[in-house]
């Protein structure tokens, strides 16, 4: 089915903020509450269970630190993509979007090795309170990374043709949000012993 034409409402901008960017902020806000609920639950439990530190010592802090570096670098590419899109340079925007997505995939690969190692050692989802949170929170975050990377690749196809360039900024906002979530997860899940 062909796409319906845009509604007139979609073309209006009473607040002065483009509708696409406004809705991205609202989506980010709603995601904040989802992660916020999970992380608040985790922190409350963690404070009540000092023995979780023993379980947490089995996480691979070095791999986590490397992944933090990868995600932060990919966020830099997201900013460069936005800059290129602002300058109407679709080709450049597409290139940086693909680099950002590459960072996302690298993150997931490292995560895959990490989890394989931990599962082989016998730490699975059902191994107790800490591991339940560890896999659920990081897993939900990884799903967001995967979704963001795929959307970037789709947007890059359009951007290379100089079409739909304002979208580049929206996906960039989302990517920074996913990045910031990781900035919370890394110390909470890996470093706090």
């Amino acid at each position: 089915m062909s796409a319906p034409a845009r509604s007139i409402a979609n073309l209006r901008s009473v607040t002065g903020i483009p509708t696409a960017r406004l809705v991205t902020w609202w989506v980010i806000a709603s995601e904040m509450f989802i992660f916020g609920g999970l992380l608040a639950s985790y922190v409350m439990h963690r404070l009540a269970h000092p023995e979780w530190a023993i379980a947490a010592s089995n996480t691979n802090t070095k791999a986590g630190a490397f992944n933090t570096f990868v995600l932060l670098t990919s966020s830099l590419f997201a900013v460069l993509a936005h800059k290129a899109a602002d300058a109407e340079d679709g080709k450049g925007a597409a290139k940086y979007l693909r680099l950002t997505a590459l960072g996302g995939f690298l993150f997931l690969i490292v995560k895959g090795f990490e989890w394989t190692h931990e599962i082989r050692e016998g730490f699975v989802l059902a191994s107790g309170g800490f591991w339940s949170f560890y896999y659920t929170v990081a897993g939900l975050h990884a799903l967001h990374v995967l979704a963001g990377a795929i959307i970037m690749l789709i947007f890059a196809v359009d951007a290379a043709k100089n079409v739909n360039l304002p979208r580049v900024q929206c996906i960039g906002l989302y990517w920074h949000f996913v990045d910031i979530i990781w900035i919370f997860l890394f110390p909470l899940l890996y470093i706090a012993k």
């Binding site: 509450f33 989802i34 608040a40 309170g129």
Partner: protein, 580 residues
């Protein structure tokens, strides 16, 4: 309802037919439409169909309570396990699949674009997706009645460990399907709600300032914000509980480092704002109706909005009043008692504002006005009885009794059912282009309101006497039996039957008027807001010429004007300028 004859929608609809052929298939017109009015109808009809199912469930378990052990006509024998499923599903359906879709989604979809003067939502296809996800969630929920063990029987609040382990709730498959359905339903309303918020922020007609937005639109948008901010933790909670059920995680298992209280916090952090998510659209519709039928400017438009925001913010810090006997720290209980009693202040203020709107007005007792007035009266009873439950000392005694049941039905019934009927009878001419029959409407109104009070006033008494809720047969528990109260339990059941019987008047009125009702003009109630400036029903795209707004929505009985109403989009003529 709409026949898209022009524009891109017809193109989309005729895809696959020969060129120039503009007939759209049933599928495209009724299930795949992106038109906000059609999506509103989808939500409305799905929601009301589920309301009938929820009402039927209430009939079955009330019959069991009045005449325990007898076959219920139209159902059969109610076993203890079935009883648990019935009450659980009644609660879940009525709140998540009736109140939410009808009040927020159906009226939100229908009213927002029309009232703010644009052609559709900002994201019509996201809107369509929202309904489709909702429909899937409703189908999953209904399907759970037919799985092994039956539908979920762990109460609509779904407290672990009861909800987490099949050996406790005896409905392991139903419990997981319930969680999936609830989570999908949340996603559907997140998609819809964000669309409402952004449409109202960005899609308003030129000239419509913040304070020119009709109260009902404000209320639906504020409700969407509250929903968005409260549901996130519960979405996370639903995933955690699902993992506990299916993958053996330990989030709510105290034996392995989890905490069952965590679920109660996540659930009620959502659950209490949810009360206001459902209440606010109804309050908004009541405000519109009262201003129109009192023929008077709404008293304190800004006060209403300030109090709404105050209520919304306070609603996030009262949730633990549901947990006073769950083992929370008594000092915390004091804090939550104070916040709970505080929240009655803005709501009371709002009720006073409504009464002030009525004062000195030329009141017309039409059916929608009767519903609006009864909303205030009945909700007041719900609010006043809430004081008893908000005070932790009294709540320890009242907790989990029928007093609580009666109390929250006095808050939810006015919001969900009275609000729905108020809105439906008021906007029916705009939705379907015909007028409803007033006589049938009034018979239905009085039958419903009287029956409603017959159901729940006895339950205040049985609850205060100590009747626990979620008991399948009082005769089986010597400390619960209280034979002297059995006639009150029977009276309440008779109320349910009468209430359901009177809905026949509404259904007949609704479908008969669709074909035989008097044709509605553009503006049958002589109202100011923008939806009354377009034909009834509005065509695809709503406005032939997009309106410009010159004034607020409640300029009734302006001195110096010939008509007693003043549409928002009517420019000031030089003669009027002189007269004013």
């Amino acid at each position: 309802m709409t026949t898209p004859a022009t524009g891109a929608h017809a193109q989309a609809g005729s895809h696959g037919h020969e060129p120039g052929h503009h007939e759209v298939s049933f599928f495209h017109k009724y299930l795949w439409s992106t038109d906000h009015k059609m999506i509103a109808m989808q939500y409305l009809f799905t929601g009301t169909a589920l309301a009938l199912i929820g009402g039927y469930l209430a009939y079955v378990f009330r019959m069991q309570l009045a005449f325990p052990g007898h076959d219920v006509p139209g159902y059969g024998l109610v076993t203890p396990n079935r009883y648990n499923s019935l009450v659980t599903m009644h609660g879940s359906i009525m709140i998540f699949w009736v109140a939410m879709p009808v009040l927020v989604a159906a009226f939100g979809n229908f009213l927002i674009p029309l009232m703010i003067g644009c052609d559709d939502m900002v994201f019509p296809r996201i809107n369509r997706l929202s309904y489709q996800v909702f429909l899937v969630s409703a189908i999953i929920l209904l399907a759970s009645f037919f799985v092994h063990g039956g539908a979920f029987g762990g109460a609509w609040t779904s407290y672990p460990p009861l909800s987490a382990k099949g050996v406790y709730n005896l409905t392991p498959i139903g419990a997981s399907l319930w969680l999936v359905a609830v989570a999908l339903e949340f996603v559907a309303f997140l998609l819809g709600g964000i669309n409402f918020i952004v449409t109202t922020m960005n899609g308003r007609a030129p000239g419509m300032r913040m304070w020119d937005i009709p109260v009902v639109v404000w209320m639906i948008v504020i409700a969407s914000v509250l929903f968005m901010a409260s549901v996130g933790p519960l979405i996370a909670g639903a995933v955690m509980l699902f993992f506990d059920q299916r993958l053996g995680t330990a989030f709510f298992d105290p034996g392995r480092g989890g905490d069952p209280l965590l679920w109660q916090h996540l659930f009620w952090f959502f659950g209490h704002p949810e009360v206001y998510v459902v209440l606010l659209p109804a309050l908004g519709m009541v405000a519109e109706i009262m201003a129109v039928f009192a023929r008077k400017k709404l008293f304190g438009y800004r006060t209403i909005l300030y109090t709404t925001w105050a209520t919304g913010i306070l609603s996030f810090v009262v949730w633990a009043h549901h947990q006073f006997i769950a083992g929370i720290d008594p000092r915390m209980a004091n804090v939550f008692t104070i916040t709970t009693l505080l929240i009655s202040v803005p709501i009371t203020e709002m009720i006073f504002v409504y009464i002030a709107t009525l004062y000195g007005g030329s009141i017309q007792f039409t059916t929608p006005m009767l519903w609006a007035l009864s909303f205030v009266a009945e909700f007041l009873i719900g609010g006043v009885t809430g004081i008893f439950l908000g005070a932790s000392g009294a709540d320890i005694y009242f907790h989990d009794t029928y007093f609580v049941v009666a109390h929250f039905h006095y808050t939810f019934f006015p919001s969900a059912i009275i609000g729905m009927f108020a809105g439906l009878t008021f906007w029916y001419p705009k939705m379907f282009g015909r007028m409803l029959n007033e006589t049938l409407g009034k018979i239905h109104f009085w039958g419903t309101i009287i029956a409603f009070n017959v159901i729940f006033i006895p339950l205040f008494i049985t609850g205060a006497a100590g009747d626990q809720r979620r008991i399948y047969n009082y005769a089986l528990f010597s400390e619960q039996e209280r034979p002297g109260l059995q006639h009150l339990r029977e009276l309440s059941t008779i109320g349910v039957i009468v209430l359901l019987a009177f809905q026949v008047f509404f259904l007949f009125n609704f479908f008969w008027s669709l074909r035989h009702g008097e044709r509605a003009s553009e503006n049958p109630w002589l109202s100011n807001t923008l939806e009354w400036t377009v034909p009834s029903p509005p065509p695809h795209g709503n406005f032939a010429e997009l309106p410009t707004v010159y004034r607020g929505p409640y300029e009734y009985a302006t001195p110096g004007r010939k008509e007693d109403y003043w549409p928002q989009n009517a420019p000031i003529t030089p003669i009027e300028e002189g007269a004013l």
